[in-house]
Structures are given as C-alpha cells and as structure tokens.
Symmetry: C2
Subunit: 246 residues, 2 copies
C-alpha cells in the first residue's frame, strides 16, 4: 500500500530503542521513520545493530530539529500517550484506529503517529499538534510501555487491518485428511482387534465405548499417512500380545 | 482473572530480552514466567534492569532443566513459531486464540505459551509438545520478531480480549459539551459580526456559507469553556478591526 503511516519519534534517547522500533516497523510494513532531536545524535551504530536487518528503515530515517517540519507533509497526525490529558480530544485504541488509518491511506492521505521521549512521553504541546490521541488498553497497574513496544503495537494493528489470514486453520502442509473410507477401515480394524483381545468385557457397553474411541481419533483430523501409522501400531501391539501369550 | 497464561521461554539467551519480556508480560497482566535452560544463568541482573519495574515477574520466575517439567501442571500448551512446520497442527493467530484462552482460563484451565530461543525459534520437538501453534501475521518480507516483542503480542491480544475499552471516545475530562443553546448564541454572535464586517458579499451565498461555518465548529465538539474562548476571539478581532478603522 502506498504511503503506510509515518512514525515520528520525538527526542528518542537510546539508539538501541530507535533500532528496535525500526525493526518493529518493518515487521509491520512501515518504512518511513522520522527522528526529532534524537538525544545521542544520528546516525547511530546502536540503532543499526538493534534493527536486526531492518536497514531500509534506519538508513532512510530523516532527522528534524522541529516537530512542525517532521509533520509538514502529513494530512493527519495521531499521538500516543498512556496518560489521560487535559486536552479535549478524540481517543482511539490502536485497534479502533487501524481501519480508519487504512481507509485514509487508501484515499491518498499521508498519516503519521507521534511517540514521545522514553521516560516522559509526549508533552501537551505535542498533543495539541495531533488530530487525535491513541491510548493502548493495558494493565492499569503497569502501563509503562517500552518505546519499541509501543511502536510495535501501532504497527501490528495497522498490519492486521490489512491482511486476511484466517484466525484458525489446520496446517496440513502438502498432506490431506484421510478419506472417510480409510478412517472406517481403521476403526473396523481396531474394533476387530479389541474384540478379539477381550477389551469389550460387557457387550452392551461396546457401542458407547466405540463412539468414545471414534471421537478421540476424529478430533485429530488424521491424514492418510497417520491412519497407516495407527494401523501399524495396532498390528504391532496385537503381535506383541500374541507373542506374550505364546 | 485467576491463572492468566503462563509464559515459557526455552533457552533464552540475553538477560536483557528476558527482562523486556517480563515487562511486556506485566503490561498485559501476565505474571507466571518460566525459564528452561537460560543460556546465561539465573537470576540475571540484566533481566532485572530491563524489566523496568516488573520485578514481580522476574523475582518469581521459575527455572527448569526440562521442558516437560516446565509444562507439567498445564492443561493446554501453545507454541509460537514464524515458520510453517511439517507438523499437522491447528494454527491460530494471536487474535484468533485470545477468546479461546479467555474461555479456557475462565473454566479453570491452566494454559501456557512456549517461546523458542532467540535466533533459532522452537524446534520440532517443542511443536510436538503443544496442542496448537500460534503464528503472528506480519510483513512476509521481514517476520523476524524480537523475543520480547513476540511475548508482547500474545499478551496484548490476551489483554484486549478481556477489556471493554471503547475503540473510540471523545476525551472530555471533567468538562461537558456546550449546550445547543450556547452554540446557537455563538453562531448568532459570529453571524452578526460577519454581517457587519462585510464578510457576506453576496446575500444569496450567506446561508450556504453559514452552514459551512457551522460544520467547521460543530465538528469540534466545543465545550462550554471553548464557546467562551471563540466568542472572546470574535470580540477581540472585531475590536482590532474597529481600532484599525478609527
């Protein structure tokens, strides 16, 4: 998608955190990083080391002296803060904002998210520069979020709002679930062997017991190969028993 | 909630990352951390320093030699991995899993999530210990996620599934939106002054122009105090103009 959200870090302190933020950005398809008065200067070897390969983000990061310049080309600006502010302002959760971000970017807007200095967070002047506030719902007893972690959560929600990965799927690789016929032959084999080995001591209980056994195996979504494995186990165990008997 | 999910780190390397993972856990209300063969030993000063106050997690972390012992009391085990595996296994996204985790914990189950070593991730033997796999949908061009970041995303979804924070709200603090009456008096004041200052050059265009002006201000959800501020601005500017004229 053209122009994914811009991340603006105000007075970031440790190069390490800038690097980890860059890594989190690229994890989520964000590439435009802007730094306003980074404490330890720029470029930063620590940032590059901690980006763990997200060089495209670190190498293209832009440096600014003034917040206004870092925001100049943006159509919308959001600011992250953990604390309730005096400002009268719309407040989004990252999840609530993500579809709006997607829609705005899709219509050609350029949007950005402001993050404040590590220890103090953004100041009221930064809140006043933004159209809305983003606050992450977290454990109210411990809301202090690492800078890179905060960037990750915004990016994560941005990415989730744009992908269509099923929330649940059975990973089959190149295998297929066994056919019902294979499954039935397996249960027939099992039932015969259990019968012969005296497993069903009370004839009346055999049907409910077989249903329970069917449920155990049918919960497993057996593949063709796994049905063969189970049948092999049956053969081996019955063979062992026959050997013991003899 | 009793027994929130347990986090199990297998062969974690840097104490720094363990500490950051502990911090992310507490951000999300998770407190039970288990370490299997941490490379640099335990306890770890680096872990404590990087936990940034999440001491309750670090101080109570339990140490294990064997995965089996770390998982012994758990009813369900999930394993995180970025790579597709050979195993035939259910795969959840963190978001897809979270409601299931909540439901299982609510009925008294003890659940845990396994994370592999930083560089290599979990091994196939770990996947075979788990009921299901968790994979985070991320930028397929750069999926390498820092350990603490991975822990955060699982915890984040767990927390989100349990809170009822509105995705959007207007933060009003202790103020109230102005009444419609206050708003109307403000527009009346503004219209009178604009009339007198010759702003509406074409009489026929006055109604649509006033509608546009109303929309600008009504989008702002003005409070009582802000209506007074706007009226003060009108008075000041008209006064300035009158002074210029005279």
């Amino acid at each position: 998608m053209a122009n994914p959200p811009v991340i603006i870090l105000i007075e970031p302190q440790l190069g390490e955190n800038i690097g980890k933020a860059a890594r989190a950005m690229l994890n989520c398809g964000l590439v435009d990083l802007r730094l306003v008065r980074p404490r330890d200067g720029w470029p930063s070897a620590a940032a590059t080391a901690n980006a763990s390969g997200a060089d495209i983000v670190v190498d293209n990061a832009k440096l600014f002296d003034r917040e206004e310049d870092a925001l100049a080309d943006l159509n919308r600006v959001y600011v992250t803060t953990a604390r309730t502010r005096d400002a009268i302002k719309p407040v989004f959760t990252p999840r609530g904002l993500a579809p709006e971000l997607r829609a705005n970017v899709a219509r050609g807007e350029k949007v950005g998210v402001l993050f404040g200095p590590e220890r103090t967070g953004v100041r009221n002047e930064h809140v006043s520069m933004a159209d809305a506030v983003i606050t992450v719902p977290l454990n109210p007893g411990f809301t202090s979020l690492n800078l890179a972690q905060a960037v990750l959560l915004i990016g994560y929600e941005w990415w989730q709002a744009g992908v269509a990965v099923p929330e649940y799927q059975m990973l089959m690789n190149d295998t297929f679930p066994a056919t019902r016929d294979e499954i039935e032959l397996m249960f027939g084999h099992l039932e015969t062997e259990l019968d012969q080995s005296g497993f069903f001591r009370v004839e009346a209980k055999k049907p409910p017991m077989m249903r329970n056994i069917r449920n155990i195996f049918n919960r497993s979504n057996l593949t063709h190969q796994e049905v063969q494995t189970v049948r092999g186990m049956i053969v081996a165990m019955c063979g062992a028993k026959h050997r013991k008997k003899s």
